[in-house]
């Protein structure tokens, strides 16, 4: 189907974009990659009166390490992140996740900022950034605020962003030695949403777990941070028993629903298996690094 009519704005600067959002408020919607938003518009589930295309705004797509963070511009395309030598070398959870998002054509346009702002619980980036303990930078005409990723997501398609805010940057803590991470995704076919996705990030200190992050995709109304599972690992020996317990807790934290992709029990089971596998892989990397 065709989208409903709208007015199209293509600001050349961020300030212009923010002014437009101030002006049109809730009736305006930001267009980044459009790979989630335009399908919604084509189905007329979303019909904003004003579309603010931010794709021509410069300076929003870099990937660099700075001040203790990996800073990824909100407009960085999934494929750009997948191909980044920096990400491939030092941020394995992101490097494994990026090529698994949707399909190669969608990855050429879809953006990490757009994915997080869209807050689809089936969004892969949400779980990765949750596991890595990341944050987003939200700009409005009033200034800038930094939002912890776990505080960004409220429920499906709903974030804590105000109508006049745009995500400009996604940050994760800079890579530490003795750390590893990965992303596992079960999908019925390429391009499908995850049946279940699990992001894992593990940091060791003196052989014990110094930090653990687990993010879950498609098993709840939003991407889930498995905090109890994470806490069960902190400070402990990274052994099979500990991983099994964390996996069990993560599965318990999942809130999947039965649908065409599988039953509640099936999806919980996949969470458990993926968390165990993910932790094992992350541990290998951490011990090697």
């Amino acid at each position: 189907m065709l989208p409903a009519r709208f007015e199209y704005h293509r600001p050349e600067t961020l300030d212009e974009a923010l002014a437009l959002l101030d002006q049109y408020g809730d009736d305006a919607k930001v267009l980044a990659g459009g790979m989630s938003f335009i399908p919604l518009m084509k189905l007329r589930f979303a019909s904003p009166g004003h579309v603010v295309d931010i794709n021509r705004i410069p300076g929003l797509s870099g990937i660099s390490e700075d001040g203790g963070w990996l800073r990824v511009g909100a407009l960085a395309r999934h494929n750009e992140i997948a191909r980044s030598d920096l990400v491939k070398a030092r941020y394995p959870a992101m490097a494994t996740a990026a090529p698994l998002i949707s399909d190669p054509l969608v990855r050429n346009l879809g953006t990490i900022g757009g994915s997080l702002a869209h807050a689809d619980p089936a969004g892969d980036w949400g779980s990765v950034v949750l596991a890595m303990g990341g944050q987003v930078v939200a700009r409005s005409s009033a200034g800038e605020r930094v939002v912890d990723i776990d505080d960004l997501f409220q429920t499906t398609f709903l974030t804590t962003l105000q109508p006049n805010e745009v995500i400009t940057e996604v940050r994760v803590p800079v890579a530490q030695a003795r750390s590893g991470g990965t992303y596992l995704k079960l999908e019925r076919k390429v391009g499908d949403f995850a049946t279940v996705g699990v992001a894992v990030q593990l940091g060791l200190d003196d052989g014990r777990v110094a930090s653990a992050g687990i993010g879950l995709t498609s098993v709840g109304p939003r991407n889930i941070k498995a905090t109890e599972a994470e806490a069960s690992l902190a400070g402990n020996e990274p052994n099979e028993a500990a991983f099994a317990e964390a996996a069990r807790l993560a599965a318990a934290a999942a809130r999947p629903v039965t649908d065409l992709r599988g039953s509640v029990d099936y999806k919980r089971n996949v969470v458990e298996v993926f968390v165990r596998r993910g932790l094992a892989r992350a541990l290998e990397m951490a011990r090697a690094g």
């Binding site: 589930f45 949707s102 879809g110 807050a119 429920t155 398609f157 709903l158 809130r255 629903v257």
Partner: protein, 203 residues
């Protein structure tokens, strides 16, 4: 598809029953729903506008009070609605009843819902959370009503925690004589289910 929900209010069953039948007092607790016409003493027309993030849906339809049992504190409603922009149609049968429990009254709603059209095709059943949020907001609002709070206190409570209340346009409902609990339960169930269904397909 079956949706069950319940909440407990700290008040005796007869008080809750009477209160819930007092439309004017509970109407402000219902975000997004609006009554448009009273057809007769057991049939009403209404609509509900739902906006979550970028998605907005607008359902309009008819609710019929099928059964009412004052001694059992039980109502059955039948409802049909159509999405105003061709997204689909919904029909539901809602059984709602009160139960006395230790510290008050449990309000139970059992909804049998079927949805057709685009809304159903793109439904992914991931938003049970929305119905829980709405139920929680409704219950909190109701409880403060029952505690004798004033109308302004109710709207304050509503505007506080409830992200949904602030996101969804709160349509002030014109109180209608003879309206019963079940209508609100129906619209809430519809809104709840429709909120589950706006997931479009591709990444």
């Amino acid at each position: 598809m079956r949706i069950d929900s319940e909440f407990t209010v700290k008040a005796p069953i007869e008080v809750v029953w009477a209160h819930l039948l007092d439309v004017e007092r509970i109407a402000p607790c219902m975000p997004g729903a609006q009554l448009t016409e009273v057809v007769d003493d057991h049939t009403w027309k209404g609509k509900t506008n739902i906006k979550i993030g970028p998605v907005s849906l607008s359902f309009a339809g008819t609710v019929e009070l099928h059964e009412r049992d004052d001694s059992a504190h039980r109502v059955v409603l039948k409802a049909q609605g159509m999405e105003q922009r061709g997204k689909g149609a919904a029909s539901a049968s809602v059984v709602s009843y009160l139960q006395g429990v230790d510290d008050g009254t449990k309000v139970v709603m059992e909804t049998d819902l079927s949805i057709s059209g685009a809304v159903a095709q793109y439904g992914r059943g991931m938003i049970l959370d929305i119905s829980q949020r709405m139920t929680r907001e409704f219950a909190e609002c109701l409880e403060s009503n029952l505690a004798g709070a004033s109308a302004s206190d109710v709207s304050t409570a509503q505007a506080g925690e409830g992200a949904l209340a602030s996101q969804a346009p709160v349509a002030p409902v014109r109180p209608v004589r003879g309206l019963r609990l079940g209508v609100w339960a129906f619209w809430r169930a519809i809104a709840r289910f429709v909120r589950r269904l706006f997931g479009r397909k591709e990444a």
